[in-house]
Symmetry: C2
Subunit: 358 residues, 2 copies
């Protein structure tokens, strides 16, 4: 361990902030002794909370920030508070090099817009993207964009593929993560021109990405690829649709076990199994969406999370800082650019067009 990782925390972001933030920091610190915090928010109130958490006694500097970005604030309103709000000041600490990363459970739109403006994007990245790990049959899959960009062109999608691929190498420890473009079918002609153009870039010779091809919605849960790439509209809808289904099925299972005395008895006997199941699908384990492509590590925690979930989000930030994610992204992007530039100079045969199949 060379030096401590400094984490800027938005003390007032999240439905249960600031209490949840402080306790989450305590849990994370217990797991990662090599981290320290710069905690932004109302000083007196935060000091009170920090005092109660043993793990934070010697590693949490409170930086007074009197303003708060609320959930109703537009990105513009949030940006106006950048010098005074807990979110803005925490981002500023990363921009200034006073912290290695920021973790916030605050207003998503405000955080993404502020991070883009204040941290700027990495060289070669036109649009940062929101990314997260999702549970699958085979383990875990990286998915992006989950809602930062409503419309994306082929270049954006290709950049997402590079960023997602590096992210998977970093957090999943994979050598050659496979990348799929989310579409309505796996055949080459499916979808729209944007998707077909992005596919052509990604499968070009020398591409830094192990491109699998098009994948469909059900391939996400099946773990067909390590990285699923899509635009922010589709990604956000699909992610939430999957969350809704998970909730629905949990309810169905619970209902089924209430229907008879035998079933209730079975439920009690299987309580160990339930605990394991609950742990496995615990959404807190997947908390911590990474805003990839900004020049700095920015992790967005779910707004409704508790301390344990927030600690997981901090853990994601720690991983990314340790593995120098952004340097690797910049390197791989350069490779992709060179290939695309070479292809423009010497055009290859166009990708097979649409077959007209919807």
């Amino acid at each position: 361990m060379t030096r401590k990782i400094v984490i800027a925390l938005d003390g007032m972001g999240g439905d249960m902030a600031p209490d949840m933030v402080v306790r989450g920091a305590g849990i994370a610190r217990e797991r990662h002794p090599d981290i320290t915090f710069r905690l932004f928010g109302p000083a007196t109130r935060l000091a009170e909370l920090v005092k109660r958490v043993r793990w934070l006694s010697d590693c949490c500097e409170i930086v007074p920030a009197e303003d708060v970005v609320t959930n109703d604030d537009t990105p513009k309103q949030a940006l106006r508070k950048r010098r005074t709000s807990s979110m803005g000041m925490a981002l500023d600490a990363v921009a200034d090099g006073q912290a290695d990363c920021i973790v916030s459970a605050g207003n998503t739109g405000a955080l993404l817009a502020s991070a883009t403006v204040m941290l700027r994007t990495l060289p070669g990245i036109r649009r940062p993207a929101l990314s997260s790990l999702l549970p699958t049959v085979r383990g875990e899959t990286v998915m992006l964009d989950l809602g930062a960009n409503m419309q994306c062109d082929a270049n954006n999608l290709a950049e997402f593929a590079v960023m997602g691929s590096v992210f998977a190498r970093t957090v999943l420890g994979l050598d050659q993560p496979t990348v799929g473009l989310l579409n309505v079918g796996s055949e080459e002609g499916k979808g729209n021109e944007t998707l077909r153009d992005a596919a052509a870039m990604l499968k070009a010779e020398g591409s830094p990405v192990q491109f699998h091809g098009f994948v469909e919605g059900n391939d996400i849960g099946a773990g067909a690829v390590d990285v699923v790439v899509t635009d922010g509209f589709t990604g956000n809808v699909a992610l939430k649709a999957m969350e809704g289904t998970a909730k629905l099925y949990t309810g169905f299972v619970r209902d089924a076990f209430k229907t008879s005395t035998l079933a209730k008895l079975g439920y009690v006997l299987a309580s160990g199994a339930w605990t394991k199941l609950r742990k496995r699908v615990d959404p807190r384990r997947y908390n911590g969406a990474v805003f990839l492509g900004v020049n700095g590590v920015c992790v967005k925690s779910h707004g409704g999370t508790d301390a344990l979930g927030f600690a997981y989000a901090i853990g994601v930030a720690v991983d990314l800082v340790k593995y120098n994610l952004n340097d690797k992204v910049v390197g791989d992007l350069k490779k992709l650019r060179e290939i695309v530039a070479a292809e423009v100079a010497e055009p290859v045969v166009a990708v097979a067009g649409g077959t007209g199949t919807p």
Copy 2:
């Protein structure tokens, strides 16, 4: 019961056709004594199969069709076989008025394209849409488009809302089904211009649709609205993503109960609960996507379904024919057109624009 409903069956559509089609027809006929079939496909082979199913002895006319639309056929190739294939000839029977509806488990793209050309669209409908019922916490929800139209404008979405609303009244027996537009947030400024324009049309005074507003992916499983409207790309991805999650969770539950002897015992005791659960989430119960907007009733069964699932798809077709779905769609669309025309004549205040929030 005035007269029998005549159902045209694509005898060769589906992975397990024609056996599955014939046995599915038998199950459907047992449930609906007021239906008869015109079964298209290889005559000798079909006659062999029909002979084995008691319920079909007096209600199944075999119409020889020697050609087959395969899963590899493009819509164009399928259309070329319209006079000779089981799918094309079954559609033709509906177009000619020799059958009230068609049920096919064949190639989706081919069926949608052929149905659009051969049946044509209803007056006022620019684009037909694929629609289905999905299970929710509150019961069932209609969702469309599930993959017929990759790109949709505001008019298309508004038409889908009208069709989905009539569909929900018909198959769910609701007086005033609520309709939501799928988006990345429920606030007015969210999403893109297409969605905001469609919302403006649907919430106009006198709209034939009970418009709830924007809904998010998780609202589908929560049953927040009776009808979820989206473009075919997003709908297809979301639907399949939800299917993938359902599969994932089923696997998680199964795994959890294998972990200890007590859990296994609990599993056995709760076997009644499992049976109930399996029934409730049985995808066959939700088989039968309706191609709304064509001038005729066209139901697409899942290609991999078995006889029971195919029987459910036939049941959907029977319901739609009985309730004159298409007449109601035409009536409600006329209402929407009048409102939109009136609004163009006297423009209302524009809908609140985007806030810039992703």
